[in-house]
Symmetry: C2
């Protein structure tokens, strides 16, 4: 297998791999969106879906393995909660990219403004 040498900031991050893979599913994104609002039991999470509790549990397990969701110890309900610190790693990566391209677009914008001004006042 080929090995990769990546810039330090882009080093392989198995955490990010699993997190983005977990988010590549509408049911799991919906569960994450629900949990941003606070803890919920599996029953509560399953409510909006026309699928079995077992199917919803499997989606939750994928989110748990990705480190995005953890479950409480209360024996009956074991409420699910979002692991904010883990999710922050995914949001940080995305926002880093947005920042870089925003800065680039701002520079382009400034360059075009400069060009127009130079044309008006040569």
């Amino acid at each position: 297998m080929a090995t990769t040498t990546l810039p330090e900031s882009d080093l392989p991050d198995p955490g990010l791999d699993a997190m983005f893979a977990a988010l590549a599913d509408p049911t799991r994104r919906s569960i994450v969106a629900r949990l941003t609002k606070g803890e919920a039991t599996v029953n509560e999470l399953a409510e909006p879906f026309a699928m079995s509790l077992q199917a919803v549990s499997k989606h939750i397990q994928v989110l748990e393995r990705a480190g995005l969701v953890s479950r409480g110890r209360h024996r009956q309900t074991r409420p699910c909660r979002l692991e904010l610190e883990a999710f922050r790693a995914a949001t940080d990566w995305i926002e880093d990219q947005r920042r870089v391209w925003s800065e680039r677009l701002d520079r382009l914008d400034q360059h075009l403004t400069d060009l127009q001004r130079d044309r008006k006042n040569p």
Copy 2:
């Protein structure tokens, strides 16, 4: 197969599915990070990786199918560029979640401050 009934804002979005799946790989995230800085040819994108051009091309194809990357028409180089509008859909989803939980944490913070104040000045 079970069908799902989701809140409108969480409707299945095959675009987001493909985008998050594409980002679940360190080489592809590295390519996206490079392209936020501007267009690049496949040769330029392949430079930091100790893998074949063909392997890098395959990763670029995954990003193209996900709508995140498009390629220019210049016959020789066909430079790759990031499709900002498409990528924005992924960043918007992530940032929506962060906004919801930030507001929740702010409210919790306010609540704790209120509690402390009430304890000091009963």
